[in-house]
């Protein structure tokens, strides 16, 4: 059982907490909030830069997690699962706060001339590697905001596959879609994100 204020957890601790969570045990849930709440608050603060919004996002994340507790797979780590739910809650809040609507995914796909042989706009290399660029706070913020603009069904797949590291089958089970739909959405989400972050990545390159 997790102790008050404890912030580190082992896989065995997490399995025990996950069992309690799936069973709907309120004491287990309180332990989960104590164990992971602070870390999730740090995540939402980093995305939102506003204490009240960050706290709201953590609360919304835990409510979502509680409602979705039966979807937590036996082999999944509670910490990683909660992390993704908190990131998503914060991104949603970011999108509503900026009053931005989601983008139309088709407009962000690579555009070709009629023969499909040439890109409409020539591609410009990004000089800096992603890890260097995203090491800067403003670029990291730009990338997170771009993710927040993706349509929900694409953003969820991107978060689960690329951020949370779940495999295609697990993602498909949790979202109630086919593995092929997960692959297609992931590919389109990545291409859309590439298009959204390109201006920032090219700006750094100049």
């Amino acid at each position: 059982m997790a102790e008050r204020g404890r912030v580190e957890s082992t896989a065995a601790d997490e399995q025990e907490l996950a069992r309690g969570l799936r069973a709907g045990d309120p004491e287990a849930f309180e332990n989960i909030v104590r164990t992971f709440g602070g870390r999730l608050l740090a995540v939402t603060r980093r995305i939102l830069h506003d204490e009240e919004d960050a706290r709201d996002a953590v609360q919304e994340a835990f409510i979502s997690a509680f409602k979705a507790r039966k979807q937590l797979q036996a082999e999944a780590r509670v910490s990683t699962w909660l992390h993704r739910i908190a990131v998503n809650a914060a991104l949603m809040k970011l999108r509503s706060k900026r009053r931005k609507t989601e983008v139309a995914i088709d407009e962000l796909m690579p555009q070709f001339r009629d023969d499909g042989q040439h890109y409409v706009e020539p591609l410009v290399s990004w000089v800096e590697p992603a890890d260097v660029a995203v090491g800067r706070k403003e670029t990291a913020d730009f990338v997170r905001e771009a993710i927040s603009k993706l349509p929900d069904s694409y953003r969820m797949v991107l978060l689960m596959r690329d951020i949370e590291g779940r495999d295609t089958e697990e993602t498909a089970r949790e979202l109630g879609v086919t593995p092929n739909a997960v692959k297609i959405r992931l590919h389109r989400a990545r291409m859309a994100l590439r298009q959204l972050i390109a201006p920032e990545m090219q700006k750094r390159a100049s």
């Binding site: 309120p26 309180e30 909030v33 990131v87 690579p110 591609l123 990338v143 997170r144 951020i163």
Partner: protein, 83 residues
Amino acid sequence: MICREVTEFLIEYEAGSLDPAVLSEFERHLGRCADCRIFIVQYQETIKAGRQACAEQHADAKTEIPEELLRAIMVAIGKVERT
């Protein structure tokens, strides 16, 4: 193979699951198309950028949840349970 097809086959290329005959055409196209080479690098860099921007390791593990937030969450959960 044309550029449009390269972008369509890219996810399978990344997963290493392209049929060998298609892979050979794919790579032949890359050999002569600078735009597609740039596109693939940017696709890979986008995955890294998204992952790093949302990475768990940046979170401050020492942060503790404020007691009033914990209480508010437990009250909210209680309401969810009753509905």
